[in-house]
Homo-oligomer: 411 residues x 2
Amino acid sequence: MATINDNYLKLKAGYLFPEIARRVSAFSEANPEASIIKLGIGDVTEPLPAACCEAMKQAVEEMSDRATFKGYGPEQGYLWLREKIATQDFQARGCDIDASEIFISDGSKCDTGNILDIFGHDNTIAVTDPVYPVYVDTNVMAGNTGSAQDGGTYEGLVYLPISADNDFTAALPQQKVDLIYLCFPNNPTGAVATRDYLKTWVDYARANDAIIFFDAAYEAFITDPDIPHSIYEIEGARDCAIEFRSFSKNAGFTGTRCALTVVPKSLKAKANDGSTVDLWPLWNRRQSTKFNGVSYVVQRGAEAVYSDAGQAQVKQLISFYLENARIIREKLTAAGFTVYGGVNAPYIWLKTPDNLSSWDFFDKLLHNCHVVGTPGAGFGAAGEGYFRISAFNSRANVDDAMRRITEKFKA
Amino acid sequence: MATINDNYLKLKAGYLFPEIARRVSAFSEANPEASIIKLGIGDVTEPLPAACCEAMKQAVEEMSDRATFKGYGPEQGYLWLREKIATQDFQARGCDIDASEIFISDGSKCDTGNILDIFGHDNTIAVTDPVYPVYVDTNVMAGNTGSAQDGGTYEGLVYLPISADNDFTAALPQQKVDLIYLCFPNNPTGAVATRDYLKTWVDYARANDAIIFFDAAYEAFITDPDIPHSIYEIEGARDCAIEFRSFSKNAGFTGTRCALTVVPKSLKAKANDGSTVDLWPLWNRRQSTKFNGVSYVVQRGAEAVYSDAGQAQVKQLISFYLENARIIREKLTAAGFTVYGGVNAPYIWLKTPDNLSSWDFFDKLLHNCHVVGTPGAGFGAAGEGYFRISAFNSRANVDDAMRRITEKFKA
């Protein structure tokens, strides 16, 4: 009989967000009159920038005419898009990143999982705790961990706790690790990394021949000019870091699907025979063989983000969500909550009141306020006692949610 | 130091189509005046159906308005699309397939690779020879094979030769296998499978608890009413087959990106402890964790394929390419070539003349006729001495290519 990948059986429960959806749907069916405000999953709510829509319509038009029709595109993405990204997102910030090192994909979630395809199973892997669950689950599925343990961790992974005690910035691991996931601005805590802090990681990675997976999906929310947007702003990062970016959170592409992964040509890792191998050709081969590029229409939409109009519209979107974040911080603080994040990030990370467990607070918020957030425990054992509120919603919904929460939980 | 997935180092040369692109580009640079006609890679040339374009423009319009904007969709695809597929592609042909068993993805190439994620590494895997290279390469990358051997095969895979001797329909394997790749209408040979022939495979798979990966990407080209379009037209296939379909070749979505994979809930395989496990939840978990669904705009385009207008337009596209195939068959036969396929399929499979190797014939065709095809050896050792010509092009280009070939190679 055909055998399955047994590693899947190690996975605990469902993936976080489907579980939230299940509870919300059950509540909603039992209470059809309840008007539920969703500040849970980090999904955007505002329309696509007009520049993107115009570009996409134009692209559909091209697809309807034989002379301008586009079939298979390059698996790596169209060069006109990769060049704009290289120039405006990286070179303009002093990062030495070339268009050929940028791979367009249909999502950072996909790529942070897929990247493991090109690495061995014997690497020691570090994640923060709490952490975006996809990093952990994809390692479990790939067979890079042992079994699930009590308390929600997996054997074999190195967990780096982040909490208010260390300003949500993990200390360097005590032991030598080979692969390190970092996400800044952080999901779920909303913390940011200073230049000096990132430099300690780049120095660590170079000293230990480790590779950093740097998830910069939320970089557009950085307003503080001293905070780096890319890990490549740190000297030496070209030799030790892969960066993931997305159009989901800057231009609202969560339902449109476009992202990018930067694999510098200078990155190296080790083969079984001890020789040193370039990573770029491996990722290029992976993408050429297992991927067929992103929809032409969508790539044209992403390109429009880099036009003057697109840049202005994205800035407006970000400002709008950041003002939501400011309101959430202010109202929750006034209601007596202890809150973190939400300044250079769209997430507010709060301590649950009365030492409630994070799922109990989830249920209480859903049942009493009809507001959905994300339980901290869903992001890892050290997320217990915390709760994530997302700033992605309309102003009216944010105001309404804060009014409901303030009423029920006033200090 | 971080280690790589050493299996990548077993891969021989580049993936077939990039290698073709490289040779064409080199020739083109050296001969900028040459007008090259591409009948190589199976890429469509005609515009998207008008119904699809209209639906996509409408969807972009929805994305520009907060009230109709769509963020993250279901990872499995929107139900309105999955239901139309279930009804019109499967239930209308008597297949007992439910919408919940259909997973929308961005490509069959991706899915035929990704499906290996949920299977163990100890399965015995059968492929035909020649075969679509992605099936083999993704198994190499996943560590399901040994090393490359002289003659272009990989240790550990079971190769089932297909040739004119067996009407390009592989015999059942002599040994017990666990996973079997079948593709009908076949890429690259253009052969089709009768109901009786498919039944021998379904019976084999059920008797041996094997899983068939059935690639039906070219089903739209079947005009013979006796040829099944889906493996689920065969009794018992629900218990042993996963089917891959694509909008690339029926509606010209090669650059638009939409496909689907059918994983029946009745499929089972074995865990390490000997217990039997359902495959559907594993694939659902894989897609939920490593994928974020297909662009809303693209799914609306795919849905339009199922409208009356869409169906009529797709039929017209298919008839157009099949008439190209008929012309190619006729002209090549008249020029003295021995040809196969091209009746219920968009590919013509020819014997190279004068016992030329397939890459030599590729170069000769490129240099003498400025026509690009695909060397049979690129599809496996047993493809040596054969050559694939695709019917995907304009009528003018097909006519011109046939004129050039007839002049240079007349019998």
